[in-house]
Structures are given as C-alpha cells and as structure tokens.
Point group: C2
Chain length 266, copies 2
C-alpha cells in the first residue's frame, strides 16, 4: 500500500497560530480566508481558537509502553490501527483534502509558536505523511515526495524585526535559513512544495495605514497564488544525494551552507 | 534598572523534553543529572512529567486585550507587575539561579518538541530575559549580552538520523544550522553562551551496548564540562553589525550563510 492522499481540487487549508483575533495576524487570517474563499473551498485550523493541544504524548503513541520504543513508530502504528486521537484525525482529514496549505504565524524566537510546532509533531505521523519506499529506487519517499505530494504551501509570517535584521546578512540570521527546518525539513520532507515566503516585517510597529497596505498585499498575493512558481529544493529521487545521505561531492564542491539544497536555476 | 540575574555558583538546571522515562532520553536524563549532582546543585525541569503547558496565551499576557497590542510587551508588563502564571515564575526562578543550563530533547522535525519550544516562548519573557539598553552604546543588550548573561548551556540532542544526513552536506541540512534558531536566536540572544552540541546519532537504532556507550560518553562529557571552551558567536556590542541590523560589509564580504555569525578563530 502507498500512503499518498490525492488532494481534492479547489480545496485549501489555512492553519493559523496566533492567540488573539484582534491582532494583525487575526486580521490577516480573516481577510486571507475571505480572499481565498472566492476560488477555494477553504477549511481553517485556528489552533488557539480550537484549543489545539500541541503536546505529543501518551494518547498519541499509547500508554503503558514497557520498554524503549521509537515514538514515531508507535504513533505510526496508532495511525494504521485507527487509534489516533480525534483531534489529530480531524487535522489529518483536512490536510489530506487540501491542495493548497497556508501556514500563518508570528515568528517567535525565530520559529513557529509551540502550538504550531506541536501541530506538526502530532499531525504529520508516520504512515500518514511519510514512511513509504519508492518501489523503483528502493529509497524512502521523502524530500520532494511522500504522503502529501501534490500540495503547495504558502508560509505567511509576521516578524517584529525589520528586513535587514532577518535578511541575507542580518544579525538574527536570514529568514530563509531560520525557516529551513519548516520549508525543507517538514514540508518538502513529506512532498509539499513551497512558494516564496510571505513576510510582514516590523509587524509590531505598523500604523493603521500600513496594516491596510499589508492586508492588500496579502490579498493580491493570494489572488495570483496558483500562477506562482514553486521553490526548487533538490529531490532525493533525482540522485543528488549519495546513498540518500549527503550531497554528492561533485555538486557545489566545498559548500556546506543550507543553500546547497536549493536547485541552481536552469 | 537592569535585568541581569546573577547566577548562583554551582547551580545547574537540566531541562528535559521527552515523553517517556523508559526511553533513551529518559536514561540519559537520569544518568546525566546523577553525574552532575556530584559537583552541582541540580534542579530539573522534566517538562512532560511536570505537565508543562507550552501554549503562550491569555494567562501570560492578560485577558481582555481590546485592541491590537504587541504580545511580547504585554507579557513583559505582566512580568514587571508580578502577574505571570505560577508555572512560568517557577521556571524563571530556576533559570535565574542556574549557571549551567542543559537542554535535552529528541530532534522532532528538525527542532525541539513543542513542549520545549513553548517553554522558551513562555519563560524567556521581556523584562526577564531581554529588554535592556546598553547604557554606554545605546544598543539593545542582546546577542552575547542580556538578562541571562553569565550562563553556559549544553544542548543534548538525540536524532534518528545518522551523522551524514545531518552533517555538513547532509540531505536534512547540517544540525548546526538547523539548531541555529536555538543556539543563537534564543540562547545567545539573551546572553547565554553555548558549548558544542552533544549529539546522539541513530538514536532509534542503538542496541543495549551502544546505549551504555552513549551513557558513558555523556557522563564523561559532563565531568569535563567546566573546562570546555564556549562557542564564539559575534557580539552585537563589538560593532560587527551596522546599526545593530546586518553584518558589516567588510566582514566576510559576499557570504550570506549562517556561519558568518560565528567569530573566525584567533
């Protein structure tokens, strides 16, 4: 059996991870969902409003495990056995249906808030999001393939810092690298392609007019989202990685930065 | 007023973020705490055992906020006003006392589990961990200075992947970059220096003998921890960053990888 879940055309899932609806994020969420609703059947996961519990624990992998076991394997067995908790199954159903995924969050400590990290920890289980072997190549179906192949994700992130601080040589590290664990390590790992990040800088300092401008900019971006090119991370199955582990020595020799996993243009 | 909390000499805090005490992590936690206890007064935060709630929410920043406000500022005001929840205040007290901090977790989706991310989100509040200006330079006391200066952290991480997959050219990105948001964006930001990562590779595939070897390796590491050199990230106050935002153009010109924030040797 393969674990691919074909998305339902015209369906989108918007995952939102900010505690206050009266915030800039709350506004962008509302307006963004409205904008997409003209063309998509939009489902939402408003994680704070749902009271989503982000702590992967015994109810996910089964109580009373008597000896050391791989947690991911136990959770995968719970998935296959239909024993995952209801909240996780509901999120998996929404994700399985969506061809467009929007992940929207404020940048907290240079990553997603815990409630979104835990949505990833709990929802992207083995057996659902990854775990197959490619039958032709004998390598795992991951990094450009996987249980959720055929989907595109837009990451919408608000940051208190300005474009220089989280830019290419910014003191906090560039945002592309800071979010590599999400765009590459999570999304690309399970087969989801990503569009360019949608970043709102100086998010805590915007005045009312600037907020309106950001609302308009997001709406405009969403209107053209189907036509946007996806990022080109390297695919495991294309043979760029030796024995599935490390980039071949003849590709970008000597470089060790995260940029080596992005396909050169052309 | 400055927000520096001088640590109590000989005090350590070990934060542990794995759901099962019968796991490899549970074993390393127990043995590591025991090893340190010979020389340190060791406090622990066993986040799963404590039932720590990682979701930063209204109890942290105050209910009934009527208009958009900066969450971090609201939480900072709650800190100054003594209104933070009891669980957060308890964690802050432990952290304020510790001169050695150990953060131990399994690598889930290329980052800390949600329960640890949320410990960071909730405990490292403005006013406690950051927020001062340097009186001489007029720049914020962050990146190498801050509320928790004078502390050293050891990050102990178990990974299912092998040393190649998360090595310098590994398919998943190198672990140093994947954890840069933690070592630099969190710890260095608030003034905590870090030691080299302590990584257990292939953590799901170790046999009993290999587990014992990992226990011994951690114990040995801990025995010599005071003598280890700390990492040398660039300090904001040393002037390497123009206007506190981006690395000066004359330093490592043209490079944009995260490695530019590490001081060259010598």
């Amino acid at each position: 059996m393969t674990i691919t879940h074909p998305p339902t055309p015209g369906t989108a899932l918007w995952v939102h991870a900010h505690p206050s609806r009266r915030s800039l994020n709350g506004r962008l969420f509302e307006e963004g969902v409205q904008e997409l609703s003209g063309r998509y059947d939009v489902t939402t996961s408003d994680l704070y409003a749902q009271g989503f519990d982000p702590v992967l624990g015994e109810r996910d992998f089964g109580a009373g495990v008597e000896e050391p076991r791989n947690i991911a394997e136990l959770v995968g067995a719970a998935y296959s056995g239909g024993r995952l908790p209801t909240d996780v199954r509901a999120e998996q159903a929404k994700l399985a249906a969506a061809e467009l995924l929007v992940l929207q969050f404020p940048l907290w400590w240079y990553g997603p808030p815990a409630i979104l990290k835990g949505w990833i920890d709990r929802v992207l289980t083995a057996g659902f999001a990854y775990g197959d072997l490619d039958p032709d190549l004998g390598v795992p179906r991951r990094y450009g393939d996987g249980g959720l192949v055929g989907r595109t994700a837009l990451v919408v992130v608000t940051a208190g810092e300005d474009a220089r601080s989280i830019g290419a040589r910014g003191i906090s590290g560039d945002l592309e690298s800071l979010l590599f664990p999400l765009t590459h390590g999570v999304l690309w790992y399970v087969g989801i392609e990503t569009l360019d990040l949608h970043v709102v800088h100086d998010a805590d300092a915007l005045d009312a007019r600037e907020v309106e401008r950001e609302v308009d900019r997001l709406r405009e971006r969403l209107r053209g989202v189907e036509a946007e090119p996806v990022r080109r991370f390297r695919r495991l199955r294309d043979g760029d990685y030796q024995g599935t582990r490390a980039l071949r020595a003849d590709l970008l020799p000597g470089r060790t930065d995260l940029g080596i996993h992005v396909l050169p243009p052309g």
